[in-house]
Amino acid sequence: MEQRIENIRDFFIVDKKHHAYRQKQLDPLELTRTLEKEHLDDVERAYRRLEWVLSHEQPVVFSDEQITFVRTVCEVPEIFSEREWDTIRQKHRIHEQGKVSNINCGYMSLIDIGTAGKRKEILTARKTYEARHDKQKVAYLDVLLKVLASMEHFSDRYREAAQKAGNTIVEESLSVIPRKKPETMLQALQFFRLIHYCLWASFNYHNTIGRFDQYMYPYYKNDIDAGVLDEHGALMLLEEFFISFNKDSDLYPGMQQGDNGQSIVLGGVDEHGADAFNDLSKLCMKASLELKLIDPKVNLRVHKDTPLALYELGTQMTKQGLGFPQYSNDDVVIPALKRWGYEHKDASNYVVAACWEFIIPEVAMDIVNIDALSFLQCVMDAIETLDDCDTFEQFAKEVRKRLRVRVAQICANTNGIYMEPAPLMSILMNGCIVKAQDIRDGATYNNYGVHGTGLSSAADSLAAIKRYVFEERTVDKQRLLHALSTDFADDAQLLAMLRYDAPKMGNDDDFVDDLATQLLDWFAEAMEGYRNDRGGIFRAGTGSAMYYLWHADELGASPDGRRSKEAFACNFSPSLFARTKGPVSLIKSFSKAHLERVANGGPLTLELHDTMFRSPESIKKVASLVKTYMDLGGMQMQLNGVNRETMLSAQKYPDQYRNLIVRVWGWSGYFVELDKEYQDHIITRMELDM
């Protein structure tokens, strides 16, 4: 890494020196109170919020930087008071924070024409609505014009600050953008940073980056051809740009620190099926590898013709222990999206939302995480009928009914969603200007995604019931029901048998894997036929988000030997106490289901010990494993080089980490089975490795 980049990284990331400029005395409630008093409509309020943040910003330009903008306003104000929110909640469902979030906007639709070009577009639409005397539409478009003006004014203040700081590079960039189309890649990146900054300042969140290597490529190519940049120069630029995603990220909303949705998507096929991985994609990988920062989070799109070399590059990234790249398989995802009614062109252009959900840039206002189905809950809903069932098939039918009830409830509960207007986001989304309609009111696609949690626990539970209650008849129904209702308090033997000896998903055992396939099929089938009140469909998925803890916390003991409140596995993975034969059997198990029916998103999550990443040869083998999963028809995968934190947690909660494998020397063992001194030794070793 170049010294200049290292200095920038140290300044912002290691030493966080820019925090000194943050304005701690500002009161965001002041604006909220004003807005409430003035009884403004929500569109106007949304504009006033952005304007409030931008006008309170105090431009800080550092002498060393080429890409500027840093937050000094710590908190973005709410546009409604708590009392007003209560009123809204009485009539509406509020998803998460009630803001437009977790979609992918068209940055280039603004960058390529500048605010001047965009203003023309808005004025054209305005004329049309003026002629129709549609005051409301005209008023909406006026707000969009004000948003552009605010951005320009804000940018101008930064330009002046750059001039004062003697930073001629930033000053020059800001004298071209945002009004005009950028002349260089540097200016295009600076423009992107401005837009992204303003989206966060608008209280939009999970502002995904999307197919950056595709849409930024013309600027890259132009600079390379014109000799403005060489590859090394481009890498430096990208690195500085990537650092910018980490400057203010502690101020972004999210469930956990780091859960900020800054996903970048690299590679994949274009709409003609040709591989679109280009020189810029490669440089992005390199920048991420060198920086070792958690943002942007890299998603790699792969397909049947993706060379092993790219998986190897990805595996080198995994080795850093950051938990990405995440891989998604075009050969499964694109047909799945088309099956759900997405146009071929749109499906081919899919990107990854904050976590793993597949979304379409510019044309979709999908809410991909509207709710979650707990598979294990469905099994437990049916457990009271066990006594009346003579065959496993009868019981399975009862489970399916309960699942359909839950799905019906989930779908019905999505009606009447209220979201705050998002004028800047609307400027960046296809059709909003022409229709003079805010993106919160919908786009071409308005589908809702529903996660599916606890799949492995549910499949394991069904397998245990099938084997022990109905086939072998070694466990009496009453004994099982009693044990479940008492959390196995007086039946340790049954607990151990169900927990450790019963068939578990992840061992390439059709007996249990087929039950998982069945559950997923039921989920997909139950959702087909429902429509949401925005005209969209419901998409079933295999992701869990935080529900794997929430749902588990609501549930008592289950027939897979899971005790009350014990967590589910995360996403699409074996249960936490399933001991699997190994990664090969595991990827086979998790490629059996009809994943094209449950493609909302949700990866197989694989943990490998970091020594597996030791040599170029072993990295190639791990890469082969990932490629093999995709070749088998896997949809999505994330893998972790297991790190120290996991080990420490495993020491505290050994029972939750029973399948955690560590390579000790020439052999692999279960971490929790090692004596403490050896555990400590490995932890120490990992500290050294990192």
């Binding site: 340790a492 033997q493 151990a496 090969v584 083998k621 791990v622 082969s624 093999t628 052999w667 403490k676």
Partner: protein, 284 residues
């Protein structure tokens, strides 16, 4: 024919080319002072217990039929399912050769597609050479490798080397007195078998565990390199520095780890001795 296994490991990335499954055969004629797989030594099934997590509930004692103490354990396995935490297991499962082959072939497509196959390790797999041969026969041409100390009769060694596609062989120490002292056997059969391996035409790799002050001297490595000479099919030499975790499993089989060398010393790792002689060498 039946063979005794103490583990089957998927995605063994350090045991030969490609993605491999490694089969660990139980029983070893050597007694290396640094052995990290002690449950692989005894050619009989034996009880293994993770005492570390034991809550002393007593269920295993109640389940034991023999009325004996732990020293007289017959590894009958009765206590295994009695433990509510499943901390007990029998290291050593008897497998019919054809069944084992069938189990291994389940992943055949994946192993072959990724340039891999099966590796037989141990213990010392040559102790069960007849079983191994039968498994190999049943593997229908799937790529097979063996990881061996080379301690076996000439006939046995030749038979197996001729039946596999790749050999990983240990060369612990060249001085015979040192070898007897630290590995419990003379290395004469090993060095004799090495000569056969060199002219067999089968690609092979040499592994040397680097044990401080036992075999990490320049003298020993030069002697090793000289022995290997310019063997045509030698793929590479891998030096494995001793790791302090080697003793982790002894307590589990109720034994004590008693290394007869200074475990606190860092071993020398002289890759240059091999590289200078045009032998590919890396640290594993």
């Amino acid at each position: 024919m039946k063979g005794l296994l103490f583990d089957i490991k998927e995605l063994a990335v350090f045991d030969g080319p490609g993605i491999r499954t490694t089969v660990f055969l139980k029983g070893c004629p050597l007694r290396c002072s640094w052995c990290h797989n002690p449950e692989g030594i005894d050619p009989k099934p034996q009880l293994m217990v993770s005492y570390h997590s034991c809550i002393s509930c007593g269920a295993c004692v109640l389940a034991c039929d023999t009325d004996a103490n732990a020293n007289l354990c017959t590894a009958c396995g009765t206590c295994v399912p009695s433990c509510p935490l499943r901390l007990r297991r029998i290291a050593g499962q008897w497998w019919e050769a054809s069944d084992l082959a069938k189990e291994l072939l389940r992943n055949r497509t994946i192993l072959e597609k990724n340039g891999g196959g099966i590796t037989f390790s141990g213990g010392e797999p040559l102790l069960q050479y007849a079983f191994m041969l039968e498994v190999i026969k049943n593997l229908e041409g799937l790529h097979c490798a063996i990881e061996t100390s080379g301690f076996a009769s000439e006939d046995v060694f030749k038979t197996i080397v001729d039946a596999v596609d790749f050999v990983i062989m240990d060369l612990k120490v060249i001085d015979d007195a040192m070898h007897r002292n630290y590995c419990g056997q003379s290395n004469k059969p090993i060095l004799r078998n090495l000569e056969y391996l060199k002219r067999s035409g089968v690609p092979f790799m040499i592994r040397i565990p680097m044990i401080p002050q036992v075999n990490d001297s320049e003298e020993n490595l030069i002697a090793t390199a000289d022995l290997l000479g310019q063997a045509e099919h030698l793929v590479k030499v891998e030096l494995l520095p001793y790791q302090k975790t080697a003793g982790a499993k002894y307590e589990m089989i109720s034994e004590e780890y008693r290394p007869r060398f200074d475990v606190k010393r860092e071993p020398n790792v002289y890759t240059h001795i091999f590289i200078d002689r045009n032998i590919v060498c890396s640290v594993g």
